[in-house]
Symmetry: C2
Subunit: 332 residues, 2 copies
């Protein structure tokens, strides 16, 4: 065990995108657990767009206090437990923060049932991103064979899983990604029927080419302007699932609403929203189904791991500048 | 029978709100029906916000040609029929236009079953506005006793019916209207639990006062900024029904989207849209139910009739400047 706990603190709130000045890499003494708590050695830390929201003073789930360790989902191994539910060696998950060690109350830790997969999969496929994808495309909408499904951020951690689930339900699935490398991944690695390169194509023209029968279901992670372009091409009784709006994290105090929203009444469409947290009582079901699909080879999971907390800022920015494929993870 | 057919033609497309220069009052020969057609003497003409959309070149249902008679729903009496489905004296409804006489193909006319009610009710309560209200609050959402329901334009033709239906389903219903006269109508004439005077109250403060338990269902006829104010106060799993957006008719080429739409995923809410036309195969059911409610005294219908086609422009503008209560009708 190291003598100190390396951790990343939030020292300045960002206005739009975080800058390196928002963070300070610190070394603090490793804390000791008290009654009911456990000390966890963190193995993998999740990088998620939701963390950008947690940096705001008015975030819907509370916010990270200034000069405290940045929040993050993480998985690790229990080193010392004073909680009856955990023992040394247990593998656990929780919002343990961007650090090497964390003392957590046992009630805030989840004991993981790790089978053949890498522990890190419990941050991605079996964590917030995989479960977000799973519930988004299975609970809010009933995808049927032949449905015309469009998925944004289809090379990302959520979108790539959502798109593969839509495919295995028999839909015609088109992705949205930035650059030829990601388009290649979407079409040739995860088997989508097509992919719009929003950086190099005229979006509306390309959408009409790839989806000449219109859009029945759109899974949106990005917000406007793409949301507006899609609304113009939705079919009657289409469903738009709002999972996130990564474009909007650029300027949270001045979010752009979809100016094409009146296409919704015109076409008797529905716009439905959810977050991962709405399904906390069904995570077990989601993991079981995703594991079945992985084991039968019907879906594939992709990770983009990065080593070292000194790389936290650059790693976090990859969420927003598009420089990764699949699930971003940092190993402390 | 008069010798000429007085009618109102669209002679200029409006950019935002129509001006008097958009219209010309004309007198043309009364047309004669050909095989399959019928000549109808129009008794009452409906004024509806949808007509503003029909004046645009890119309206979703096509548009009124320049220098032709303005489209409008109307009811009247068949004078001469060369269609086997209609005979002289039949009472009919159709998009017969802003005029005194219309020659219509029989396939575009609907034979009315008029009971004790005034014929004009088949434009309001038993027409587009009443049926829009009926399907909007009964088909897209299942209102239950105790639900917290907010209805915009609650002194208008659609909103006043929607609000009364929500009340008879046992909901706590708050309206939105402009000015003390309309607020008095909503609370004392149609029995709502409260009404926000958006012209004289601070909207968000008043909403929080009248709906301290939040909003479960919002029936929206107006769009932003009110839609955004409401989104901030919706409950978990709220439903927003988009029926129209009268505010947006001011500038159709630059509609404002709801910038608070990310409250929808935050709260697992739904935004659902529809138009009257989506329910054309169920109008009969709607009329039957509305008639039952009227006969048992559970809802009341209000009309605002105006005489004379020379008053068309001023009458039409009442839809947008808030100077009417209930259903606006012009008698040619």
């Amino acid at each position: 065990m190291a003598d100190l706990n390396k951790n990343v603190k939030l020292v300045q709130r960002p206005v739009a995108m975080p800058t390196a000045a928002c963070w300070a890499l610190a070394e603090d003494p490793i804390p000791s657990p008290e009654a009911g708590q456990a000390l966890v050695a963190i193995k993998h830390i999740s990088l998620d767009p939701a963390q950008r929201a947690w940096m705001n003073e008015d975030c819907y789930v509370g916010c990270v206090a200034l000069n405290s360790t940045m929040w993050a989902f993480a998985v690790g191994e229990v080193m010392n437990s004073l909680h009856p539910g955990f023992k040394t060696g247990d593998l656990v998950r929780g919002i343990m923060g961007v650090q090497q060690y964390s003392v957590m109350h046992g009630d805030d830790l989840e004991l993981l049932d790790v089978k053949d997969e890498a522990l890190s999969e419990h941050l991605g496929l079996y964590g917030m991103t995989g479960l977000t994808a799973y519930f988004g495309v299975t609970d809010l909408v009933d995808i049927k064979p032949g449905d015309q499904v469009l998925i944004s951020t289809s090379a990302g951690a959520v979108g790539s899983i959502a798109a593969q689930i839509a495919k295995l339900k028999g839909a015609y699935v088109v992705g949205i990604a930035g650059g030829p490398e990601k388009v290649d991944f979407c079409v040739n690695e995860i088997g989508l029927d097509g992919c719009i390169d929003y950086k190099n194509h005229d979006f509306e023209t390309r959408l009409a080419e790839l989806m000449p029968d219109g859009v029945d279901i759109y899974f949106d992670n990005v917000g406007v302007p793409i949301l507006d372009y899609v609304l113009k091409q939705i079919n009657e009784e289409a469903t738009i699932i709002i999972c996130g709006a990564i474009n909007q994290f650029q300027n949270m105090s001045d979010v752009s609403g979809p100016s094409q929203y009146l296409r919704i009444p015109e076409r008797k469409a529905s716009l439905l929203g959810f977050t991962y947290f709405h399904y906390s009582d069904r995570f077990h079901e989601g993991v079981k189904q995703l594991r079945d699909w992985i084991e039968s080879g019907q879906i594939r999971s992709h990770e983009h791991p990065i080593d070292g907390l000194e790389n936290f800022h650059d790693s976090f920015m990859k969420l927003f500048n598009g420089k990764h494929i699949g699930k971003l993870i940092i190993n402390p």
